[in-house]
Symmetry: D2
Subunit: 251 residues, 4 copies
């Protein structure tokens, strides 16, 4: 699911709640629209390894004035996690500790790739893949973990297996047979759901490959389902491509 950060902020403001609003954007930054300042986040955490299409190794904090002030009076002992040294060194473009220079070069290229495609196009691409994935899940007759359409995530779709079927066993079968690694259900959903990631460097055919792996895996694992998920997703992606072509021709 996605979280409505602006709405949360509004409630906090209404209640004049003193808490800092921290947002974890690790799975979404660069794949889903996000506005630290406009939505009033105090601390935003991002990482290099998902929407920014890099190996793990970089993490980012955006911090509000309020968060910065709070950090100055906070009592919890900090060293590596302290912002002071980093902010001091960053003024001159340096780092207080050994930086992962190779990833910084990669980041420059990743950001340039995102701008080349255009952020609105990047976001639309992930929204499209979310919708295609949900259409596949519905065609299979499987339940989505996210029940509320307003909360659908453009980067990750979690799907329930029918009761009594082990999602992790199915994930293992799919990995063994098709070299496709699906996400596990987390917390209470462990073994009951699996997750399809459609974030970062991902296109229509990557998604079709993933959905084909799932549809075959459902059959191999003996999970009750209807055929037609791959077809439903493909039909939708084809319609999107058709309208996008028409839009280009009209423009």
């Amino acid at each position: 699911v996605i979280s409505d950060i602006a709405a949360i902020r509004k409630v906090m403001d209404k209640l004049a709640h003193p808490a800092l609003l921290m947002v974890d954007t690790i799975s979404s930054l660069g794949s889903v629209d996000y506005r630290h300042d406009e939505w009033g986040a105090d601390v935003t955490i991002g990482g290099s390894q998902k929407g920014l299409m890099l190996p793990p190794g970089l993490s980012f904090n955006a911090i509000s004035e309020k968060a910065l002030a709070a950090s100055k009076t906070a009592k919890m002992p900090r060293a590596f996690w302290s912002w002071d040294d980093m902010m001091e060194a960053n003024k001159t473009g340096y780092f207080p500790y050994t930086p992962a220079t190779n990833l910084l070069f990669g980041l420059r290229e990743a950001i340039s790739m995102l701008h080349e495609e255009g952020l609105p196009n990047v976001y639309a691409r992930h929204i499209r893949h979310g919708e295609a994935t949900r259409r596949a899940a519905r065609a299979w007759g499987l339940e989505l973990v996210c029940q509320n359409p307003a909360d659908y995530s453009p980067v990750l779709t979690a799907i329930m297996l029918p009761a009594g079927h082990d999602a992790d066993r199915m994930r293992g079968i799919i990995l063994d047979n098709f070299d496709l690694s699906l996400g596990m259900g987390l917390g209470r959903l462990k073994g009951k759901a699996f997750r399809i990631g459609h974030l970062g460097d991902f296109n229509d055919l990557s998604l079709m490959a993933a959905l084909a792996g799932v549809e075959m895996g459902l059959a191999l694992a003996g999970v009750p389902h209807q055929k037609g998920g791959v077809d439903a997703a493909m039909q939708y992606l084809q319609e999107c491509a058709a309208s996008s072509t028409e839009a280009r021709i009209a423009a």
Copy 2:
């Protein structure tokens, strides 16, 4: 199509034909079984960029005693293509000209990957992908270029479009929409057929992605066809995975 090298050799021997038998294995070496000595080839040519899963830049010759003798009396002027300097230098593990050392390291790794999977498994994988692709083509109601089942290729499947439909226009639509580059029809088939490569570093889901791109592209290009190609291929791959799992369990 594949060529029955051993049969060609047999006919040449029967006729006591003096020609050298040269075999171009560039698209197949490392993806299809091939036996230079056993089948009696005189000159075999291979390259790094297909079944050996490397960038272009290396080419190989296997040569028979007969071919070597012929090269010694041949009158055609040669320099770079001459075997003499290469064979002299190769004795000590060197090359007469600047070798692409980086690709030789890559080749060592590629060969080790092929052996890790096991050559019989590699060959079976490509045969499976050829069959899945042909099932897709038949479901689409499209004609295969290769009419004789004995000649079906495990690495490449060429498919005819109905008369009056431009295969190159469809290839362009697929490239623009799905970033999938299909092979063009060659020679007389230019504009009339397209080719799906399923060689080298390729698995079931890569094929499903490619076939989904084609099925959507057929629709976007307005080429008359029936739906169901992707489904037919998926059904077949799933059955293969099921029997392969059963075989593993039985063993």
Copy 3:
């Protein structure tokens, strides 16, 4: 300087001091002999980016039973730095958070390179480079930061500039002219000393290049010194190579 860990341990044991002995091996692991268990360290910290010849991105902890027990009763709030989740996941070869998989592959290769050369040879190489660097410094008439020969470091040599000369200005001149980045003096030595690193993936000629850069930089920066540092180091490395060849021939 290097620290005599075993001696520190001995003193701690003699005093029955309850403190944990933590050793930071980031600059030395893989370049200098180190024995966590034998020397009685409680916590050893290492990183990927120096002696292990990789980009930054991996860090390692070796921990004693005593340290583990202490961590279980420690009151300081921890999350990422907690060992519990890591040890639980490591049992099955996994990680509790997204691991830098690419660096783990690199680590496997780095370790195999170290073993191919042989750890005693690796250590001897760095000791040789330390001695060569100190001979250069002495020939230049510059003072070493490390005054006690027993504490000489095989991986890093810090050298004082004469009073009144700015080491950071000289480092800038060397970087601008020769693309050689020397380490800065740390803490009280900032601006007064510079450091030559000779650790990790480094050989005799890398060192000669670095020393030539320093000798030219001393002249360009107008730092009073005698010529002959490069010669002194080269003379020593040549003698080492000669005895090593003799030793090989004798064996």
Copy 4:
């Protein structure tokens, strides 16, 4: 040695000689000034693996109208070497055969690196390294293969060993001890001379490393020589750096 192409052209024109003027720039393109049109070359051949700082795998031809006309009437059988297919395909930015796409991306970056430094600076850098190398050779008391200063090469310096000393043995000793691969003497000079390449991605400290390897290798191989080659080169490079800094300050 370098060849005075413009002078050769002038003589050919004076004699109204009908031969085509072919120039092999493989070792120099991108490191030494070269002007195909201005100097009147008919065919220029270049490669990716030297001054263009890439792996081997790309070769280039620049051809004059006269060469093109000659190729159309030439009788020698050609296939791969024929310009026709290449020129036809190049019109639309394509290639008649599988191109080494990865190297084309590398070429774009290499060219951009050369322009970033500025071609006059690139050429001056290699001229400087040639002079520094010759100063080292003279200090060693060794003879240069190139006797005429007007013919000195900025990219490669070939140096004679005293009679009775085996250059290839010395090259082997240097490779074994210092991982430095020097060029062998070619043709009549095999075993009598060795070559130091200073082309492509190369800076002052790379040269100092190479010269230190040679000076130590001369001693290890028991070749009679005087010390001081490394010092002489270093003295010269330091003076160049000093004037270059002065020039920058003046500007």
